[in-house]
C-alpha cells in the first residue's frame, strides 16, 4: 500500500490545533512510519504540492490569502478535513462578525489604541486584506470531514489520523465531536 501523503494547513487560527497535533508526542514517530507529511506550517515549504491524500486545515477563512489558498488546497487534495473549531465554525476568529465588518476591529486596534502614529495597515501584496466576514472553511470549499474542538484533543486527532491511514471514512460521534 502506498504511503499516505498528508498535509496540514494553518489559516485564520491561533495554531493551537497544530500544538495539539504536536502533543501526540511519540505517536508522531509512529505516524511517520505510516505517512509522509508533504506540507505543513512547521516545515519550510512554500508551495502546496499536488496529489495530497489528506489535509488537516486549521483556522477560518479570514482574509483574501486564506480565500485563495484554500481553493488551491482543495484542488490539490483528495480529502480535506476541517481541523478544529475555527475551521469548523469560525470560532474565536469569527468573533468580529457580529460587528458587521472588519473595519471596527481595525479601527479599534490601529487607530484608537495606539499612542504613536495611528494608521490602518495598507501594504498591498504584503499584508492581505481582511474579509468583511470570517467564514468557516466549508462556506468556501467542499469539506470531507470535520474534526471539531478548541483545540481537538490529541487522542481525537490520533483517532482521525488512524482512520484516515486505514483508508476508512472519517465520521466522528459523541464526545469526539464536542465543540470547544
Amino acid at each position: 500500500m502506498a504511503r499516505l501523503k498528508l498535509a496540514t494547513v494553518w489559516l485564520g487560527g491561533c495554531s493551537g490545533c497544530h500544538m495539539s497535533f504536536l502533543d501526540l508526542d511519540e505517536w508522531l514517530i509512529d505516524l511517520a512510519q505510516l505517512a509522509d507529511i508533504v506540507f505543513t506550517p512547521i516545515m519550510d515549504r512554500k508551495v502546496y504540492p499536488e496529489n495530497v491524500d489528506a489535509v488537516l486545515v486549521e483556522g477560518a477563512i479570514a482574509n483574501e490569502d486564506h480565500f485563495e489558498f484554500i481553493q488551491d488546497v482543495r484542488e490539490r487534495s483528495k480529502l480535506l478535513i476541517s481541523f478544529g473549531d475555527c475551521a469548523v465554525t469560525g470560532n474565536v476568529t469569527a468573533f468580529r462578525n457580529p460587528l458587521g465588518s472588519a473595519l471596527p476591529v481595525l479601527e479599534r486596534s490601529y487607530l484608537e489604541l495606539p499612542d504613536l502614529d495611528p494608521h490602518l495597515p495598507v501594504e498591498p501584496g504584503i499584508v492581505p486584506r481582511l474579509l468583511e466576514r470570517v467564514v468557516p472553511v466549508h462556506a468556501v470549499v467542499k469539506v470531507d470531514a470535520y474534526l471539531p474542538g478548541c483545540p481537538p484533543p490529541p487522542d481525537r486527532i490520533r483517532l482521525a489520523l488512524e482512520t484516515l491511514v486505514a483508508g476508512k471514512p472519517l465520521e466522528l460521534h459523541g464526545k469526539d465531536i464536542k465543540f470547544g
Binding site: F67, A102, L103, L120, V122, R129, L131, E132, V135
Partner: protein, 548 residues
C-alpha cells in the same frame, strides 16, 4: 323586544323609504377614494333640488368593484356609476329630473356582477350598516328570535351541521361539529370568539363584511352563543381596520339598546354580551391559541394543541372560535333552512365563499361565488383576465399559508379539497392574480419575508428556520446559489412545516414549496445563472484598503 317589535321596526323603515334611493359606498376602499365627499355632494344636491321627500341618499356598504370606486347606485332603476367624483356627483341628482349625468356609468350587467352569488354579501351595498333598523328591515335578528323561541340548542347545532357549513377562516373544519364539541364540554362559563384578525395580505373580505353588514355577524355570534351555552362573546378585530371597529362598536351599542344583545334577549333567559378586542399588528394572532392569549392581554404566542380551545380556551373554559364569514352565514342558514344552504356548492364544500380578487387582473374587488366555481370563471369572466393584454401565470390563494396555482389548472373547481390537492389552501379568501411579469421566486421570498417578520419567536423552526429559508431564497434570487442550496431549501421547508408549533410556521413553507413544484424551471434558471463556480468568487468585500 318581541317579534312584533321587529316587525314594527321593519314596517316603519319600509314606510319611511322615499321612492328613490341613492346608494353611495362607504366602505374603506371607496372611502380612501374620496367617497365621503361624494356622499356630501349628493346630499347637498338633493337639498338644493328640494328632493328630500322623494330621494334618500344612503351610505351603504361595499358594492364589490373596489377598483372603480367610489361607486354610486340609484334605486329602483339600478343605474350604477363608477369613479364618481365630488364634481360629477351632483349630476346624478340632476339626472333624476332629466338632466345630463356626467358621472361615469358602470355596466351593472357585466359578468363581474351577474356571475356572482349573494349569501354573505346579500345586504352589502344595499343597506346602511350604521343603522340597526336597516338590518331589521331585511329580516335581521329574526333568526335569533326564531332560535331563542322555537329551537333547542341541540336543534340549532343540528341545523348548522345539516347545512354543511365549514369554517371560512382557512382550514374548513365542519362548523356544526365544532359547535357540538363546545356545547358538550363542561365548563362553568363558555365563550364565543369571532376571529376578525384578517391578516392575510391581499385579503379584505372580513373587513368588508364588518363595514357593510356588522349586525349580521353579531346575530350569528348570538345564535352560536345560544347553541353552545355561552353568554360572552369577543370579536378580535385587526387594529388596521378602524372603520370596521367603529361600525362594530356602533352596532353593538344599538343592539344593546334594542335588547338584541345583553340580558334576557327576546324575553328569554338567554344573556349574551359582545365585547371588541382590538389587535395591535401581529399576524400570528389569527392563530386561535395566539388570538386567545392576546384577548387575555398577553403576548400573542400560540400554545400546543391539544388541548383545543373547545376544551380549554379563554381562561381555561370551553371556547368557540369562528371566523367573521362563518358567523355571517349563520342567520341566513337559520332563516332559509339548512337544505337551501346545502343546495349551494359541491358535495363536500357547501355554500358560497367570498374572495378578494386582486393583483394583475382587470376587475379587483370582492367576489362571492358558490363553492366549486371553476377558478377560470372567477379570474377570467368575473375578473376580466389580466390587464393590458397580459396573460395570467398563476393565482395565489390562501396568503402566506397558501400556494400558487399555475394557469394550467384554472379549470379547477374552487373548493377545500381541490385547492389542497394543488398544494394550496382556500385560506380566508385572498386571491391574487399574477401575470407573466411576476417572478415566482420573488413571490416565494416575499411570503417568506412576511412569515419571518410575523413569526412570534416561540418555537425554533419558525423563528430561526424562516430566517434561513429567507436567506436561501434571497441567495437563489441573486443568482448566488448552487444546487446544494436548493436541496437545503427543500429539506428545511419540510422540517419547518413538520416541526413548527403553530399554523404560521407549519404553513410558512407552502408558497415556496408550491412555486418549487410548479415553477421549478425559474429556480433552475437562477441556479444556472450562478454557474458551477469552479473557483468561488470572493464573497465578501475586503475592508483594509479603506485608508482613512
Amino acid at each position: 323586544m318581541e317579534l312584533s317589535d321587529l316587525h314594527d321596526i321593519a314596517a316603519r323603515e319600509r314606510a319611511n323609504r322615499p321612492p328613490v334611493e341613492i346608494r353611495c359606498c362607504s366602505a374603506a376602499g371607496c372611502v380612501s377614494s374620496n367617497s365621503p365627499a361624494v356622499l356630501e355632494e349628493l346630499r347637498g344636491a338633493v337639498q338644493s333640488a328640494g328632493l328630500q321627500d322623494r330621494v334618500k341618499v344612503a351610505a351603504v356598504g361595499c358594492m364589490r368593484l373596489c377598483c372603480q370606486g367610489p361607486l354610486v347606485q340609484t334605486v329602483p332603476d339600478g343605474a350604477l356609476y363608477q369613479k364618481v367624483t365630488p364634481e360629477s356627483a351632483p349630476s346624478i341628482i340632476a339626472g333624476l329630473q332629466g338632466g345630463q349625468v356626467t358621472a361615469e356609468r358602470c355596466d351593472a350587467a357585466a359578468p363581474f356582477f351577474t356571475q356572482q352569488a349573494s349569501v354573505v354579501l346579500e345586504n352589502s351595498g344595499k343597506i346602511e350598516p350604521e343603522r340597526i333598523e336597516a338590518y331589521i328591515a331585511v329580516e335581521g335578528y329574526h333568526a335569533l328570535h326564531h332560535v331563542l323561541r322555537e329551537m333547542t340548542p341541540a336543534e340549532v347545532i343540528q341545523t348548522i351541521t345539516r347545512s354543511g357549513l365549514r369554517g371560512r377562516g382557512g382550514a374548513g373544519y365542519p362548523t356544526g361539529v365544532k359547535w357540538a364539541t363546545v356545547a358538550k364540554n363542561p365548563g362553568e362559563r363558555k365563550y364565543v370568539v369571532c376571529n376578525a384578525d384578517e391578516g392575510d395580505p391581499g385579503a379584505f373580505m372580513n373587513r368588508s363584511v364588518l363595514e357593510s353588514d356588522p349586525h349580521r355577524v353579531l346575530e350569528g355570534m348570538a345564535i352560536a352563543g345560544y347553541a353552545v351555552g355561552a353568554s360572552q362573546g369577543y370579536i378580535y378585530c385587526r387594529g388596521e381596520y378602524p372603520l370596521a371597529i367603529e361600525r362594530l362598536q356602533k352596532a353593538i351599542k344599538q343592539a344593546n339598546q334594542r335588547g338584541l344583545l345583553g340580558t334576557d334577549i327576546f324575553a328569554s333567559p338567554f344573556d349574551f354580551r359582545i365585547d371588541i378586542r382590538i389587535g395591535a399588528g401581529a399576524f400570528v394572532c389569527g392563530e386561535e391559541t395566539a388570538l386567545m392569549a392576546s384577548i387575555m392581554g398577553g403576548r400573542g404566542t400560540p400554545t400546543p394543541r391539544p388541548p383545543y380551545p373547545a376544551e380549554k380556551g379563554l381562561w381555561e373554559m370551553p371556547t368557540l372560535l369562528n371566523n367573521v364569514e362563518t358567523f355571517a352565514n349563520v342567520a341566513a342558514i337559520i332563516r332559509r333552512g339548512p337544505e337551501w344552504f346545502a343546495g349551494i356548492g359541491t358535495e363536500r364544500s357547501k355554500g358560497t365563499k367570498v374572495f378578494c380578487l386582486t393583483g394583475k387582473v382587470v376587475n379587483t374587488g370582492l367576489v362571492e361565488v358558490p363553492l366549486g366555481t371553476p377558478l377560470r370563471r372567477i379570474v377570467e369572466d368575473i375578473g376580466g383576465g389580466a390587464p393590458d393584454g397580459g396573460t395570467i401565470k398563476a393565482v395565489q390563494t390562501g396568503g402566506p399559508s397558501g400556494g400558487c396555482i399555475p394557469a394550467e389548472f384554472l379549470d379547477t373547481p374552487v373548493d377545500y379539497e381541490s385547492l389542497a390537492k394543488l398544494g394550496s389552501i382556500m385560506g380566508s379568501g385572498g386571491m391574487i392574480v399574477m401575470d407573466q411579469t411576476t417572478n415566482m421566486v420573488d413571490v416565494a421570498r416575499y411570503f417568506m419575508e412576511f412569515c419571518m417578520d410575523e413569526s412570534c419567536g416561540k418555537c425554533v423552526p419558525c423563528r430561526a428556520g424562516t430566517v434561513q429559508l429567507h436567506r436561501l431564497l434571497s441567495r437563489i434570487l441573486a443568482a448566488e446559489a448552487g444546487p446544494e442550496d436548493m436541496q437545503r431549501l427543500e429539506a428545511l421547508c419540510q422540517m419547518v412545516r413538520d416541526t413548527s408549533l403553530c399554523g404560521l410556521g407549519q404553513t410558512a413553507p407552502n408558497p415556496t414549496l408550491s412555486t418549487i413544484h410548479y415553477f421549478r424551471a425559474e429556480y433552475e434558471a437562477l441556479l444556472q445563472k450562478a454557474g458551477p463556480g469552479q473557483r468561488r468568487r470572493l464573497p465578501l468585500v475586503a475592508a483594509t484598503d479603506n485608508s482613512r
